[in-house]
């Protein structure tokens, strides 16, 4: 398992990014954690539908996005809000989706991020298709698809990996192995010694990195992205991390894992090691921490406000996006719907 930044903040070799960028990414991780904790809090207040927290996976998600170009595609999951945001998806739309509003799946025109995939495993092939389209159109854009350890058990993972390799598609398969598929531990999901090693079955390079290590994740994604852009084809990256919270707000992790395991992983916190690294270089202090936490809180609160002040879809609007133009039977149903809502 590749590691560049140890839990105690020490670096192996030269840091892959400079201090300024490291500060920016640290700040992004603070924003991500703020969003995530707020998500859980709002759900408890009944202001959001079920929420899937990603605390502990911030380095994996922020580091991955940092390794991409701004116009590279990201096709991710319900647990990847930080990754999607880092690639341009607005916080308010991520919240909107969680309030149960379809418009949360509709990012601005220029944002190259698909709505989060709710089905497990089905979205990786989409990233392969997107990257293929970019390749055919010679844009130099690539795609990164993010998924969990559990998703690698689905047949679609196999078909996505195989298609990408066969056609040399510039697609990065970014697996956040957070140890569990809901209650099923990684060891009970598959007998391969690592997930990275599954790449061999497709003649694809596979790397395993410490997913709580911002530098290692950034570097792995960055290298894979450059290779993909140069026509070198796909890469599988396994980022070994941990979900500190429950699978979702309706899950009780005590049923399947010990508190010791959780506290053990808390000691490997992805933010803390970057903080130490920065402070040892005089690039972090309490004051700056307070500042960015305040900025984060403000931005997240603004986003919540935007999401919650969004009026719900109007009567009949739930039918308006089924087709470009409503066919007659949906027109009739729309009329019936309006009649019944009044």
């Amino acid at each position: 398992m590749r590691q560049r930044l140890t839990p105690s903040g020490g670096v192996e070799g030269d840091p892959p990014i400079d201090i300024q960028l490291t500060r920016r990414l640290y700040r992004a991780m603070v924003f991500a954690r703020t969003y995530d904790r707020k998500g859980t809090a709002l759900q408890k207040q009944g202001r959001l539908a079920t929420y899937a927290p990603f605390e502990g996976q911030e380095a994996a998600q922020i580091g991955a996005a940092a390794g991409l170009q701004p116009n590279d595609w990201v096709v991710a999951t319900y647990r990847d809000a930080a990754l999607m945001w880092a690639q341009g998806y607005p916080w308010e739309l991520l919240f909107a989706g969680r309030t149960g509003d379809e418009r949360g799946g509709s990012p601005p025109e220029h944002v190259p991020v698909m709505p989060p995939s709710i089905t497990v495993g089905g979205h990786m092939v989409h990233a392969v298709g997107l990257a293929w389209a970019e390749k055919l159109n010679g844009t130099g854009r690539i795609a990164l698809t993010s998924f969990g350890d559990g998703a690698t058990s689905e047949g679609d993972f196999h078909e996505a990996m195989n298609f990408a390799a066969v056609y040399d598609i510039g697609c990065i398969f970014f697996c956040q192995n957070n140890g569990y598929a809901i209650s099923l531990p990684r060891e009970m999901q598959t007998r391969s010694t690592s997930i990275a090693e599954k790449a061999i079955a497709y003649g694809m390079p596979g790397v395993q990195v410490d997913g709580n290590d911002l530098f290692a994740v950034y570097e792995a994604v960055h290298d894979a992205a450059e290779r993909a852009r140069a026509g070198g084809g796909p890469t599988l990256i396994e980022a070994v991390t941990y979900r500190i919270g429950p699978h979702t707000t309706s899950d009780d992790p005590k049923r399947y894992r010990s508190d010791d395991e959780v506290s053990e992983w808390k000691r490997r916190d992805p933010l803390e090691r970057v903080r130490i690294y920065l402070s040892e270089r005089g690039a972090w202090d309490e004051e700056w921490q307070a500042t960015i936490e305040a900025e984060a809180a403000a931005e997240i609160d603004r986003a919540i406000e935007l999401a919650e002040n969004m009026p719900p879809l109007g009567p009949g609007e739930i039918l308006d996006a089924m087709f470009e133009t409503l066919p007659p039977h949906l027109e009739r149903q729309r009329a019936e719907l309006l009649e019944n809502l009044t």
């Binding site: 989706g97 209650s183 099923l184 009970m188 739930i318 039977h329």
Partner: protein
């Protein structure tokens, strides 16, 4: 006798089956250690062991395909799909193998298995978590398709399904898991598959439904009766085989029908019921056969569910129109 919710009644049925028949086993995502996302299999792994209540990888096609092999090999597997929207990856196994092996082998090999599928909306869930695809399974020859709406039926139909020599798709209305309670007998009893339940008898109009919509239909029937309309309510319980006798007898009596389901309208199972009536009861019909259903759209997210799901008002309105003509 205990007063149980549908979730508990199903849990009891599985417990009783695991107790009685050593060949019965459960497979599914999170069915063991957590007792399932709806806790329907709660406690069963502790009681019957991880060898019989098996947590599987996230691989629906594998779950159903392996369960099929287990069934052909003499076991009585009960496979759980976590939500109906996640049963689609297994659809190929269901339609190309589970439903056909008896015919393919002329009875030499059979697949006595149950596929449990929580289905339906109304709980403000995420996308894919509110599907009603019963018509797709009902259109697949070789399957029986069952949808309980009460705790008593849930336990009795599940035990009948486990005991059935052929594969049964067992659709569980998510919205009713904990919302209805009633007395349920202890131990093993079966509710025969293929018999509708006449929830209330009436003379003026027949309301036909199944699953979670029984709640709205009940509400509509009560509202209509308050207006002096005599309403007959049929809960189909089993879509395949379908209890056509009960439907025909009712329509011949009332001459007026409204069919209610939450799945999309086009080619939904309501169409089959309406077609059946148009074929067999035409001369008894005094009004067009109306369908109150979900729209031909994706099931909306939390904030707009109310726009999609048939409401008591929509059903009452359709019934009134049917009565007025």
């Amino acid at each position: 006798m205990k007063v149980l919710t549908i979730a508990r009644a199903l849990n009891e049925a599985l417990d009783v089956a695991l107790e009685k028949d050593a060949q019965v086993m459960l497979l599914g995502e999170d069915v063991g250690r957590t007792g399932g996302v709806f806790r329907v299999t709660d406690g069963l792994q502790e009681r019957h062991g991880a060898g019989r209540v098996v947590d599987t990888p996230v691989a629906e096609s594998g779950i159903v395909g392996v369960a099929f092999g287990l069934a052909v090999g003499g076991m009585r597997p009960v496979a759980e799909m976590q939500f109906m929207g996640f049963s689609y990856p297994a659809f190929d196994q269901v339609i190309n193998h589970v439903s056909r092996i008896r015919n393919r082998s002329r009875h030499r090999f059979t697949a006595p298995m149950v596929i449990r599928i929580p289905y339906g909306g109304g709980i403000g869930a995420a996308e894919h978590h509110s599907e009603s695809a019963e018509a797709i399974y009902a259109h697949t020859p070789g399957l029986k398709v069952v949808v309980p709406a009460t705790p008593y039926d849930a336990k009795g139909l599940l035990l009948a399904a486990i005991n059935d020599p052929d594969p049964v798709v067992f659709c569980e209305p998510i919205r009713l898991y904990r919302s209805v309670k009633e007395e349920v007998p202890d131990g093993w009893y079966e509710v025969p598959i293929g018999e509708a339940r006449v929830e209330r008898t009436g003379e003026d109009i027949t309301l036909i439904t199944w699953g979670a919509m029984t709640t709205e239909v009940r509400g509509a029937a009560t509202a209509l009766e308050a207006e002096g309309v005599s309403v007959e309510v049929i809960d189909l319980r089993s879509l395949v085989p379908l209890d056509t006798d009960t439907i025909e007898a009712s329509v011949e009596k009332t001459g007026r029908v409204v069919i209610v389901h939450e799945a999309p309208k086009t080619a939904g199972f309501g169409a089959e019921v309406a077609a059946l009536i148009a074929e067999r009861c035409l001369y008894s019909l005094e009004a067009p056969v109306r369908r109150v259903t979900g729209w031909d759209s994706v099931f909306p997210l939390k904030r707009s569910e109310h726009q999609y799901l048939p409401s008591v008002e929509r059903i009452v309105r359709a019934a009134r129109q049917t009565l007025e003509t």
